[in-house]
């Protein structure tokens, strides 16, 4: 009998199952429900297992993508997750919130002709499998006897902490809020990143020996210098972009105007969506305007619909093409009924006699020549002002660096924006033994970029602790 060579059936990229838009906009459950095993196997089978995989170049933490995808095709899920965890300590989070389309998947060879392998969805699949069935094997390195203080428990701090613990160092993470996770718990909504997932990932990190001290504001209860003088051999600062920007327009202090940070923190961290069972209130009117068009803006616009608002607008002064949010987030927002007022920006917020927002004067814009950012500069159109009737305004136009650590660490160099100056490859700051990474260095960026910075800094701190 002659061998018949079966031609591999052409499989197209597997769609991510999602809750129906009309249904999901009434709840806080996760929007994307995750691949089934069959879907994951089909999707993994699409990987060409390139000899020189470009996808890995696109990953800020260098996950061996082809290797873990291949292990999925072999149904070796434990090995697949172990492979990911060699590089990535927060896979269930990255599988959900990484902008894969501009990183690993952007470089996938399949993407040149058709659609790239859905690397992020596969990562999520094995990470979720792990949460349910996996057996985490904590690697125990020889104890180094060195202590490292990590300031901030967001993505960069957790990553640095986990890597350093794996290398045998004694690590304490200091967090200002009452639960760890930073932006993962106060910023990103439950419907995009369930908090149980974050807790689980953090527990895994604690299991490898990382200690987390909540309710600890470095810069207040102690300083970086005090940490270094009291037994810590090195410090990593990952305090994030925790200072919301406002527009400096009239009416911004009216009741009903929130920063995105306040709005999201009330809803996510403090669970105001379950008020009064949880005691932190939030007040959402019928018509909400969110200023800005990044991921934080999309989160801020989708949340009010779930809290009973009738209209939710994204107000953005550039056009659709320039919106910084992930395409997937924009699409999800649109499906749920968020309306986009593009080439529009507020010039004034108007209040009623009781000091509550009742409207917003908007001005229309057109696009001119490219500016420093390479995006076309928005130019206001004279006489185009009109009033948009809204009762809640959420400012999602970005955040600056939190000043508490720089203010109390005199020899830590900062730039004109207040960001800590740190070497790109190592996170080394101007101060010996002090490293920094994430949004506090780069300004507001992504979870995975912060994780990449945490990873590099961990390597550099290990080198510093080992060889001085």
């Amino acid at each position: 009998m002659s061998e018949v060579k079966v031609k591999k059936e052409k499989v197209s990229r597997q769609h991510m199952p999602v809750q129906d838009a009309q249904e999901r906009k009434k709840n806080f459950n996760e929007v994307a429900t995750g691949y089934s095993e069959d879907q994951a196997l089909l999707e993994a089978s699409r990987c060409l297992d390139c000899k020189k995989p470009l996808c890995v170049d696109g990953c800020p933490v260098d996950v061996d993508i082809p290797a873990f995808v291949k292990l999925i095709t072999q149904r070796e899920y434990q090995k697949a997750i172990d492979k990911i965890k060699e590089k990535n300590n927060l896979p269930a989070i990255c599988g959900r919130v990484c902008p894969q389309e501009s990183q690993c998947e952007k470089l996938c060879i399949l993407g040149k002709k058709a659609e790239p392998v859905a690397i992020g969805r596969l990562e999520r699949f094995v990470a979720d499998w792990d949460l349910e069935k996996g057996q985490y094997r904590a690697e125990k390195a020889l104890e180094s006897g060195k202590r490292v203080a990590i300031v901030g428990s967001g993505p960069s701090g957790l990553t640095a902490a986990a890597d350093l613990a794996k290398l045998g160092h004694q690590v304490t993470v200091m967090e200002a809020l009452h639960i760890p996770g930073g932006v993962l718990v106060y910023g990103i909504p439950e419907f995009r990143l369930p908090k149980s997932i974050v807790q689980h990932e953090i527990r895994n990190i604690q299991e490898i020996g990382v200690e987390i001290a909540c309710n600890t504001v470095v810069g207040k209860i102690n300083t970086v210098d005090e940490l270094l003088n009291n037994g810590y051999d090195a410090a990593f600062i990952g305090t994030g972009a925790g200072l919301p920007y406002f527009m400096d327009i009239p009416g911004e202090n009216l009741n009903g105007v929130y920063s995105a940070n306040e709005f999201l923190t009330r809803v996510n961290l403090m669970k105001a969506y379950r008020f009064p069972e949880y005691l932190t209130p939030i007040r959402i009117g019928k018509r909400v305007a969110v200023i800005g068009a990044g991921n934080v803006a999309m989160d801020s616009a989708r949340t009010p619909l779930r809290l009973g608002a009738e209209e939710s607008y994204i107000v953005y002064r550039r056009s659709e093409k320039e919106m910084p949010a992930r395409l997937e987030e924009i699409e999800h927002a649109r499906e749920e009924g968020v309306q986009f007022k593009l080439l529009t920006s507020p010039v004034e917020i108007i209040g009623d006699e009781n000091g509550w927002v009742k409207g917003m004067i908007c001005q229309q814009y057109e696009l001119g020549e490219p500016d420093d950012s390479g995006r076309r500069r928005p130019i206001p159109i004279k006489g185009s002002e009109y009033e948009l009737e809204v009762d809640t305004v959420i400012m999602a136009i970005g955040q600056g660096p939190n000043p508490l650590v720089p203010q109390t660490t005199p020899d830590l160099r900062i730039n004109s924006h207040g960001n800590i100056v740190a070497e790109d490859a190592t996170g080394q700051t101007s101060k010996a033994g002090v490293f920094a990474g994430g949004d506090i260095v780069t300004g507001a960026a992504t979870v995975i970029q912060a994780m990449g910075a945490g990873k590099k800094a961990a390597r550099a701190i290990h080198e510093y602790l080992t060889n001085g």
């Binding site: 200002a176 809020l177 009452h178 106060y186 909540c214 309710n215 600890t216 504001v217 207040k220 209860i221 102690n222 925790g242 200072l243 919301p244 406002f246 400096d248 911004e252 202090n253 009216l254 009741n255 929130y258 920063s259 940070n261 306040e262 923190t265 009330r266 403090m270 669970k271 008020f275 009064p276 069972e277 949880y278 005691l279 932190t280 209130p281 007040r283 009781n354 000091g355 939190n402 000043p403 508490l404």
Partner: protein, 281 residues
């Protein structure tokens, strides 16, 4: 978890607790505040420190039962625990030798002004204090304030103790008496701090007030506590809580303080309707 080591009632609906928090107690300075969350479902509320004892490792909090959280706090006893406590937050008071300082405290605002007054006294200032409350039943820390002041004046709304009227009546008398005043520090209800600031403005007497707006994180992250000061918007949690009373936009502060008035009512209803809240136990 933070253990309550002492609890007492100071006046009608005003209570004092001492909480074990050694590191915080050794670090805190007059003028700073803490944020606490009683339990898993609780909200984060800021309370200005009334005192701390580095030796005992305790901080003192004095609060008025005005809302759901302070009522629940009032039901906790010595030996009970508070789930979360963070601080010291905010900038400390600027303590230096000014000369003659008038310290004005109203209602539960006498609690935070006490450690500031004491620190100013220790810095060799001549202290004239004016404290007030609705009645003598509502007045707190009169003895403590007496100990750290050269002269203590008391005002009550109903005249049950001291001057019948407002603290500002007494402050006006002091100003009129021709005493050279180098600084006024005022802590109390917004309406009182506003009245004090308006009173001192024409005389150009430097006036410091301590604001206690609605907060969430207390580290500058959320901006809920923003206050209009001069031409700028400031965050009370990191830029304050103390500000120049002549620069504060009081109408913005008053409006923002009412932001969640309806929700606060709702939360209180839950408290009294015999629901699942702990304060009924």
């Amino acid at each position: 978890m933070f253990k309550i080591t002492k609890k007492m009632t100071l006046a009608q609906s005003i209570k004092l607790i001492e909480v074990l928090a050694p590191q915080l107690a050794s670090k805190a300075q007059p003028g700073q505040f803490i944020i606490l969350r009683i339990d898993e479902n609780g909200e984060r509320i800021p309370l200005t420190l009334a005192d701390c004892d580095g030796q005992e490792g305790t901080i003192t909090l004095i609060y008025q039962e005005v809302g759901r959280t302070t009522l629940e706090l009032g039901r906790l006893e010595s030996g009970d625990y508070i789930l979360d406590l963070v601080g010291p937050l905010g900038k400390p008071s600027e303590i230096e030798r000014y000369g003659t300082v008038v310290c004005v405290g109203g209602g539960v605002g006498v609690a935070p002004i006490y450690p500031i007054t004491r620190a100013l006294a220790n810095a060799e200032n001549n202290i004239i204090s004016v404290i007030g409350a609705r009645s003598n039943k509502h007045l707190i820390l009169a003895e403590e304030m007496q100990r750290v002041s050269e002269k203590l004046h008391i005002a009550t709304d109903d005249g049950s103790l001291g001057h019948k009227g407002f603290v500002t009546d007494i402050l006006q008398q002091i100003v009129d008496s021709g005493v050279q005043i180098d600084l006024v520090v005022a802590i109390g209800p917004l309406v009182m701090m506003k009245a004090v600031s308006e009173l001192t403005r024409p005389y150009n007497i430097k006036t410091v007030v301590s604001l206690n707006p609605i907060m969430v994180d207390g580290t500058g992250m959320c901006g809920a506590c923003r206050v209009a000061v001069g031409q700028e918007t400031k965050f009370a949690c990191v830029d304050g809580p103390e500000f120049d009373g002549h620069q504060v936009n009081w109408s913005v502060a008053e409006t923002r303080a009412r932001m969640f008035a309806d929700e606060e009512q709702l939360a209180m209803k839950g408290c009294y309707s015999g629901g699942d809240c702990h304060c009924q136990k």
